[in-house]
Subunit: 218 residues, 2 copies
Amino acid sequence: MPTVSSEELAAAAGVNSAKLRKDFSYLGSYGTRGVGYDVEYLVYQISRELGLTQDWPVVIVGIGNLGAALANYGGFASRGFRVAALIDADPAMAGKPVAGIPVQHTDDLERIIQDNGVSIGVIATPAGAAQQVCDRLVAAGVTSILNFAPTVLNVPEGVDVRKVDLSIELQILAFHEQRKAGEEAAADGALPAAGSAAARKASADQGPDGAAPAVMPA
Amino acid sequence: MPTVSSEELAAAAGVNSAKLRKDFSYLGSYGTRGVGYDVEYLVYQISRELGLTQDWPVVIVGIGNLGAALANYGGFASRGFRVAALIDADPAMAGKPVAGIPVQHTDDLERIIQDNGVSIGVIATPAGAAQQVCDRLVAAGVTSILNFAPTVLNVPEGVDVRKVDLSIELQILAFHEQRKAGEEAAADGALPAAGSAAARKASADQGPDGAAPAVMPA
DNA sequence: CCATCTTTGTGCACGCGTTCACAAAGACAT
DNA sequence: ATGTCTTTGTGAACGCGTGCACAAAGATGG
């Protein structure tokens, strides 16, 4: 039986082994003392807990460059997602296949949602259309929305929204870049490093920031 | 002189006013007691601190659907970013304009970086090419990388990498969706809610998660 | 069957960020 | 000029996640 110890996993993932064991313990922890965790069983448990064993039909609304990129993105299928439909407001797009899936017109949005039992929607429309699309998705029964449009969406209680702002990630990089430049200048004895307290707060690891600033200008 | 109080800003942003004031205090205190913050000056200070007043030339490598979407994305310009060049490995793409910018071939990558003084690179290539592109970018002088390819990049000390995995956001939504379904079932008296402890830890607000799980299967 | 060794599961303490609460500061009216 | 009122800036307390350290559990060998 192939097994892994928390120590091995922690080293591979670059995290603390105690944290990892404690996280696993929340799932009901099925490790064997003196041996470790049964790999196959562990993968199954985590997959089940994260919802990877289910099939999640999703619709993508707004088939521009970004929508097309998402439709073509291979990572979805392996994570339990299935692109059930592509929807666009442009009649010229209707019927045209993108990533092997024919684009359908916004008029049929409600029917498509209900026919496919879709509960997760992706909005890749221009900012101006996002709220309207969102309202229709929610009215049709969607309860989770991934929003790529640069707008904060208003949704009723019980609906989850996650906003992905592609430029925020770049902005964080630029902030660190500026800090690097500032520190070089300070090392040259030229200037005191501006905002050193705020700079210290920024973490340096890959991935989304844990502590985002409270306010950011539009 | 138009002003805002920390209370107003906090209400608008949905955060605690004390935290907001403390954050501002790290930038140096520019508020007036009894009045609030001078809007114009505050915007300028924050913009400067975040690096929005500078012009950041960036290159996008890999002009597929995603790369094209990024090139067309309007949000960059208003945040101080300028797309200095588009680079792709496909010779057929060379010279073809995307978002009004002619695509250049990977062979010229080093020259393009140096000619434009680029320090921020965006990787939108397939996973297989990402590390190689990354190495060349770093060797040419890039010190910040935004990675859309589903790979963890290896970079030397001093280089920042931020990884954007589009399917992780969907996965988080699916997790919440599953939790909703599980709670309904539990309310019906059918099943105990699986993983309730882990579920409780998940926050419900828009935006990237602060506390990401330590390990996630590939 | 017992001793030893490995690894889990977790109580506890530490550190950090958030929130509370209030004194100090400044505007504004009288 | 003086008092009142608003809002800032911040010291202190609180809460929470993380890491340490160790006892309990089980495997393994003699």
